[in-house]
């Protein structure tokens, strides 16, 4: 690019070439450094303070408390096998460095298969929405069977999501989303995002981890427990 011969300045004209040079450089800089991200939203949750692994928790009730368990484990696994068989089945399903893409989502006797690839990788909004709606429908119908008939939502049986620790986060979150959606259809008030309102809503939590060192045998045991949970 030419910067002029100086004749322009003598005539009192502003030399625009360096200005354009600079603007081009800045434009290039911003184009290269900026990244376009989608607008992010959030689902709120409240961790329980009166249960879990606290050593000084109140004495345990004799009767097991009523709760609704949502179980998530790799698709294709059935009840009635030994932990070692689940361990071997997992090794066949899960290739090194890969996640399990298909999950079974079960609430009581109701269950369905969830396609993780649609959830996390599909660009087709309609396809993703359809799949999420199907999950919401299944979980909603299952939760309907556990209604206690009490007026306050916080008095309903707590929902606990038991996801096999080796599955990806998308499955657990979509189950959480489905319960929250079901609750929004039953809610007596509209949640505005204020954290204090969460105490008035039904308790929905993720089960604490069962194992610590993630050996193949322990993963088999964990699968056995999740698959056989009521």
């Amino acid at each position: 690019m030419s910067h002029g011969d100086g004749g322009g300045a003598a005539e009192g004209k502003l030399d625009l070439v360096p200005l354009i040079d600079t603007i081009m450089l800045l434009l290039m800089f911003f184009i290269l450094t900026s990244k376009f991200s989608t607008e992010e939203k959030a689902i709120s949750s409240l961790l329980p303070t009166d249960k879990g692994q606290m050593s000084s928790a109140p004495s345990k009730p004799v009767e097991e408390p009523k709760q609704v368990n949502i179980c998530i484990y790799p698709a294709g696994m059935q009840k009635g096998y030994q932990p070692s068989e689940y361990r071997d089945a997992l090794a066949k399903i899960r290739q090194p460095g890969q996640n399990v893409d298909f999950a079974t989502l079960r609430v009581g006797a109701d269950q369905m298969e969830v396609d993780g690839r649609t959830l996390s990788r599909s660009q087709n909004a309609e396809e993703v929405s359809r799949h999420i709606n199907a999950i919401h429908g299944m979980i909603g119908a299952a939760l309907e069977k556990f209604e206690t008939g009490s007026g306050e939502r916080k008095d309903q049986y707590p929902v606990i999501i038991h996801c096999f620790s080796g599955m990806s986060w998308r499955f657990a979150l979509v189950a959480y989303d489905a319960v929250r959606y079901y609750e929004s259809t039953k809610a007596t008030f509209k949640f505005t995002g204020n954290p204090e309102e969460l105490a008035r809503m039904r308790e929905v939590t993720f089960a604490p981890p069962r194992i610590r060192n993630y050996s193949a045998n322990e993963l088999g045991n964990e699968l056995y427990e999740v698959i056989h949970m009521k």
């Binding site: 329980p48 909004a125 999420i132 986060w169």
Partner: protein, 193 residues
């Protein structure tokens, strides 16, 4: 005669009014503000694709509540125990590679303790005697993150396990725990990647 005068007058003004330094300075100021804004506001610098959901709400501005974003990424590599990274920008991410490596959880707990000491507290409505911090921890986990990592982070947030002692349960009174109970999970609208 008058035309000549006018031309002279015009020349003297354009000689005095040199716009180049003005433009230079404007660009410098613009650059300064753009870069400063980026440094202070962006807690979401990690390249993370959060999972899609339908009930999510726009991140609300909650007065009197501190919001802390925890970026999480974790995966299984070559069938080995999972590797994970936890980041609280502008701090650099903390990586854990091995089975007994709890670096990420330990550093997270240290930072959470600082937040806990700083913010306002309220009494636990469930009557456990705990003083809960007025802070919302936003877990911004990648859709492909192993569920285990998110699960353990929730345990670290509730302070019921000790990352400095092999992630074993803490043996203290509930009132002594530095628990964070208000958690947000970051999501996006279906189909937007």
């Amino acid at each position: 005669m008058s035309g000549k005068k006018r031309k002279k007058h015009f020349d003297s003004i354009s000689d005095e009014l040199d716009l180049v330094p003005l433009i230079d300075v404007c660009f410098l100021i613009l650059l300064f503000f753009i870069l400063c804004g980026r440094l202070t506001l962006d807690q979401r610098t990690e390249q993370i694709t959060v999972p899609p959901t339908k009930t999510a709400q726009k991140l609300p501005e909650t007065r009197g509540w501190e919001r802390v974003v925890v970026n999480v990424y974790g995966s299984t590599q070559n069938g080995k125990p999972p590797r994970n990274s936890i980041a609280m920008p502008p701090l650099l991410p903390w990586y854990s590679d091995k089975v007994d490596d709890y670096t990420g959880y330990q550093r997270l707990r240290q930072e959470l303790n600082k937040v806990h000491d700083k913010v306002e507290k309220y009494d636990d409505p469930k009557g456990t005697g705990m003083k809960l911090p007025k802070a919302i921890i936003e877990i911004r986990a990648d859709a492909e993150t192993e569920y285990r990592v998110v699960q353990e982070i929730q345990q670290v947030l509730s302070d019921t396990i000790d990352p400095f002692n092999n992630m074993l349960p803490k043996n203290v009174k509930p009132a002594e725990l530095k628990s964070f109970v208000n958690i947000d999970f970051t999501t996006r609208k279906p189909g937007e990647n």
